[in-house]
């Protein structure tokens, strides 16, 4: 009897599975079935599952918003456009697999992504095989553009600017004499921490400690106990907000009075939720400031909120700007190609040639490496436990 029951259960499960497979097949057929000559796909690749899914989702929504706004204009030129959001799970292996898939689909002409530098670098090597244009919204690692790939561009500022700015701000604006540097051992976090360390010595600060933590853990008391004994003026954290916010909270629990500075990885509304009142007084440097502080930015935030039912994070604006650059490049490439579907190389060339495009985060033009000449950096401070924090300093970040 029991046997039979479980057999029934299994067959029900199988049925459900096969239905969902059918559903999957059907929708697939819809997307790849009519691969016409006039079809153009633009992908976004960000983490949509896993621990960084919240950030990745925000960038995707930004990209989607720009895509929806520009879609009609490109379709007037006689093409059908499709937006294809992909999930790289913040994992280099998955990122490369997604990149291979996109490369194989000849309708894909440009990619808005990735989120993590560690994923973007190997994935962009794949795109480079066929000059598939990639516009990175949020990768700050220097290696992204220093390889001088003709198809790779970025909207945001570089780590080698952000790190020194953090150290300069600590030394000159806060008058710190000692700095304790913590990083999360990732390509992003450690690179930026190294830059801070270098600049701190140049600025005459004493580096009182340089320690790593493991992302995904919650107990940082080991490192913080050391901070409590060393008593530095400033704690710099190279990493992302889940660990950074916990550091802030545990610092305040331990009564550590040092000022806290982080990089743009700390730039997320969740930081306030996690750290609570302890967030007040902490700083971070970021290539994007509170978008809504200008009237144009405010209008953008409102339309984003109206469209998606939730407020954008600052990263959404990058996804948005990257997509606008792509759409602009594609339009130009179509015109330059006499109204015919452009090749991937033509799109890459046209995107690199984009100049003076007014975006939400900056006015975008690329140099010969693909870095944005208009990129800016901001120092923001939480005056109250509310996101976004106030901008206390603005620096031109292109050098």
């Amino acid at each position: 009897m029991l046997r039979r029951k479980s057999k029934v259960l299994v067959s029900v499960l199988l049925l459900v599975f096969s239905f969902s497979m059918l559903g999957g097949c059907a929708s697939k057929a819809k997307t790849t079935g009519d691969s016409a000559a006039n079809k153009i796909k633009i992908a976004s690749v960000t983490p949509l599952s896993g621990a960084q899914a919240a950030l990745g989702e925000q960038i995707k929504l930004g990209a989607q918003m720009a895509f929806d706004e520009q879609k009609a204009e490109v379709e007037k030129l006689g093409f059908t456009l499709e937006f294809a959001p992909q999930d790289d799970q913040a994992d280099p292996k998955v990122g490369v697999a997604v990149a291979q898939k996109l490369l194989a689909d000849t309708d894909v002409l440009a990619v808005d992504g990735h989120f993590n530098s560690g994923v973007a670098i190997p994935s962009s090597e794949i795109y480079a095989k066929d000059n598939l244009c990639m516009v990175s919204p949020a990768n700050t690692a220097v290696g992204i553009t220093d390889r001088k790939l003709p198809n790779v561009n970025r909207i945001c500022a570089r780590d080698d600017v952000q790190g020194p700015l953090g150290a300069d701000f600590a030394a000159k604006d806060l008058g710190a004499k000692t700095i304790f540097i913590v990083h999360d051992k990732t390509t992003y976090g450690q690179a930026i921490a190294d830059e801070v360390k270098k600049q701190a010595t140049v600025d005459g600060m004493q580096v009182a400690g340089y320690e790593g933590i493991t992302p995904g853990e919650s107990d940082f008391s080991g490192v913080l106990n050391k901070v409590a004994v060393v008593k530095p003026d400033v704690v710099y954290f190279g990493g992302i907000y889940p660990e950074g916010s916990l550091l802030i909270k545990q610092m305040s629990d331990k009564g550590i009075k040092a000022k806290f500075i982080g990089p743009d990885g700390m730039d997320d509304p969740e930081e306030v939720k996690i750290a609570g009142a302890a967030v007040i007084g902490t700083y971070y440097t970021s290539p994007a400031a509170d978008i809504s502080r200008t009237p144009a930015g405010k209008a953008w935030v409102d339309s984003f909120t109206a469209k998606f039912g939730k407020a954008p994070s600052n990263w959404s604006a990058y996804g948005y700007d990257a997509m606008n650059v792509i759409m602009e490049g594609i339009k130009k490439a179509i015109v330059a190609n006499g109204g015919k579907k452009p090749s991937r190389l033509q799109v890459s060339t046209a995107v690199r040639a984009v100049s003076g495009l007014q975006g939400i985060t900056s006015t975008i033009s690329f140099d010969d490496k693909g870095d944005n000449k208009g990129a800016k950096l901001y120092v923001a401070q939480f005056k109250e436990a509310k996101y976004p924090p106030a901008v206390v300093k603005e620096v031109n970040a292109f050098k």
Binding site: S6, S49, G50, A51, A53, A54, K185, G209, Y210, E211, G212, I213, T214, G216, E217, S218, D219, S221, G222, V223, N225, K226, A228, V229, V230, P242, S245, L246, K249, D253, K254, G255, E270, K273, I274, G276, K310
Partner: protein, 319 residues
């Protein structure tokens, strides 16, 4: 050296707090291994589900204003109760669906289904929280904000005291249950020899379900305590902690209940002292990032000298 002595007391305390959380989670691994010789890798997700359940109860109390009305320990007990019930039930269900049909399969097969359950639970919680709250990072309300200052080098947050006391109650309770009651005796019998105990009219399936329930309920309670202590949880929070707790179980001797407790506490302290002390001991050459290396080197050393762990019994073969 002087610096190290200054931070040692606080490190020991913080390590002990982390260690008891490892210890309670390790109990779940070790109990299941004891009866089934199965490493239940989905136990880390049971812990995570418990953390979410407990946090949701506290958040519910907070939203409706009860949190200020009732004493904090009562709120914690309510959260613990719901979390233990839910994760205990989940543990029983998991055993019924994912492990029992595979009980006579080769040993690696249930290991794979455990990994499957683990992925399923992670993304199920992410999905539910995502649909419900539009965010899957939860921050538990801090219900024990105060702390006691013993000296300049030692500060005891009340929440860590609460974690410690609850953990001790649970561990003592479990030890009494296993050694003093009839059901406890049945669990030990099944752990020794499943076939013979079924001949002795012990309902083996029920005993295994009970083992899963207790192990999972403890895991769920550990989750809630963890959320109170460290406040931030997400659906992936169980992964690293689960690996550490499993390590603790191996360090103490897998299958042994006192071993899991000792292993957890030892690992917590090693990590905490390692994180603060390595930089000082090596003059900055090795920082806090080597704390896991340090802890695992000790684990390997223990296993070389005593392959069955600190409290383990010598047995023929293990996975």
């Amino acid at each position: 050296m002087e610096q190290f002595l200054q931070l040692l007391p606080q490190c020991l305390w913080d390590g002990l707090t982390l260690g008891v959380v490892y210890a309670i989670v390790a109990l779940g691994y070790t109990m299941v291994y004891g009866v089934l010789e199965l490493i239940n890798f989905a136990h880390s997700e049971i812990f995570m589900v418990g953390a979410f359940a407990g946090t949701e109860v506290l958040l519910y109390l907070q939203t409706y204003g009860y949190l200020t009305g009732i004493p904090a320990p009562v709120a914690l007990i309510m959260a613990l109760f719901v979390a233990m019930l839910l994760s205990g039930g989940l543990g029983v269900l998991m055993e019924r669906i994912a492990y029992r049909p595979l009980r006579n399969a080769p040993r690696l097969v249930p290991l794979i289904s455990a990994i499957g359950v683990s992925f399923f639970l992670q993304d199920a919680v992410r999905l539910i929280e995502g649909l419900w709250k539009n965010a899957f990072y939860l921050t538990a309300p801090s219900i024990f904000p105060a702390s006691i200052e013993i000296s300049t080098n030692l500060k005891l947050p009340v929440k860590s005291l609460v974690v410690m006391i609850s953990a001790v109650i649970m561990m003592v309770g479990l030890q009494m249950f296993v050694t003093r009651t009839k059901w406890g005796k049945a669990i030990r019998a099944v752990a020794q020899d499943r076939d013979t105990s079924s001949l002795m009219s012990i309902n083996v399936n029920r005993v295994i379900s009970l083992t899963f329930f207790i192990g999972a309920a403890l895991g769920g309670a550990a989750g809630t305590l963890f959320a109170c202590q460290y406040s931030l949880i997400n659906p992936y929070v169980g992964f690293i902690l689960g690996i550490k707790a499993f390590t603790a179980a191996v360090l103490g001797g897998i299958g042994s209940i006192p071993g899991a407790m000792a292993g957890g506490i030892l690992l917590g302290i090693l990590e905490s002292v390692g994180a603060a002390g390595l930089g000082i001991a090596t003059n900055g050459a090795m920082g806090a990032e080597y704390k896991d290396v340090f802890a695992f080197v000790i684990l390997i050393a223990v296993l070389i000298l005593k392959p069955s762990g600190l409290f383990g019994e010598e047995t023929g073969d293990k996975v």
